[in-house]
């Protein structure tokens, strides 16, 4: 027995057939009990699916979403402030070192008040700078500077990792 194709039945159900084709299908449905049964069950499913109700999400969902939004979209700003404050401390330390070295050099060259040849001054200044840097990076101080920079690198690394993670999450993996 030749049954009506499923595609035709579905199109008939969705009213997607032209008038002539619809009339033909109606005629065939009248004469075939098997097709009529197939179509009636299909129609029943269509009607029942139209009545399906939406699932209800647990209470408080909206509040949780809004709380998450407040948290997630404020946190980056707070992180920026923290990074800025760390950067400011580093800059202050660097400026301090430069000021300290400059003060040491200037103090060593203060007694000479008469006119000094420029080249001699430059030589002394650069010589003093090298000496100060050598003292600063001596084995005693080097460990302290190394520790400070390591700490800085670790903190920067942590925030870089967090930033990457955050970006990845927002990109939706």
């Amino acid at each position: 027995m030749n049954l009506l194709p499923d595609e035709i039945l579905n199109k008939y159900l969705d009213d997607e057939l032209d008038t002539q084709k619809s009339a033909e299908v109606e005629e065939l449905l009248k004469n075939s009990e098997a097709d009529r049964k197939r179509f009636n069950v299909l129609k029943l499913i269509h009607e029942e699916l139209s009545l399906i109700e939406e699932d209800k999400i647990p209470n408080g969902f909206t509040n949780r979403v809004m709380a998450n939004i407040s948290k997630k979209f404020v946190l980056p700003r707070q992180q920026n402030y923290f990074i800025l404050s760390i950067a400011a401390v580093f800059i202050l330390i660097c400026v301090g070192i430069v000021v300290y070295i400059s003060a040491a050099i200037i103090s060593s060259s203060l007694p000479q008040t008469e006119s000094i040849q420029v080249t001699k001054t430059v030589y002394r200044f650069s010589n003093g700078l090298i000496m100060e840097l050598r003292n600063l990076f001596s084995s005693k101080n080097l460990s302290i500077i190394g520790s400070v920079f390591s700490l800085g690198i670790m903190i920067s690394g942590y925030f870089f990792y967090e930033h990457q993670k955050h970006t990845k999450v927002n990109m939706g993996a």
Partner: protein, 188 residues
Amino acid sequence: MKKLSDQQIIESVRDGNQSDYSIIVDRYKNKAFSLLNRMLRNEQDAEETLQDCFLKAYKSLNSFKGEAKFSTWFYRIVYNTALTKLSSKKRKIENEMSSVDEHFDLKSDYDYNVSERKDMSEFINELVNKLPERHSAIISLFYLDEMSYEEISKVLDISISNVKVMLHRSRNALRNLIIEKNLVKELI
């Protein structure tokens, strides 16, 4: 009070009224939850994923140009996030869902017990959850969200004809199970 359109609410959120976003959340949460429930088949996963979706949508609000309806844009986020979630759960969705030519048969997966007779809508709803994820998503978008074929094709990023094929195939599978199990008299 006049109901604000999605676009009006989005403009307000963009202008800095963050709390107005809760109107959007309230408007779409249950329907999107229904879609995720059908795809993920786990309420907790569905709720968590939906939270992520609303956060993603909020973060990307500036990229929403209003060329498509907000609902289409948002459901696209929901659908893609669900697919990501499914793949992260190591379900073999590529094999299961990649082709619209797939053929599936509900009768081997579902054993209806007449003694546990339920309300017909509930029964058919249960059957929908047995369909492959993408097919149950189409059923949800078409019947629950009352989306057109064109909107569904944009959400799922497939052609309109493929949407129709998949919708028809889903209905046929449900019908075949009902006829196969001789449930017609039970149900009608």
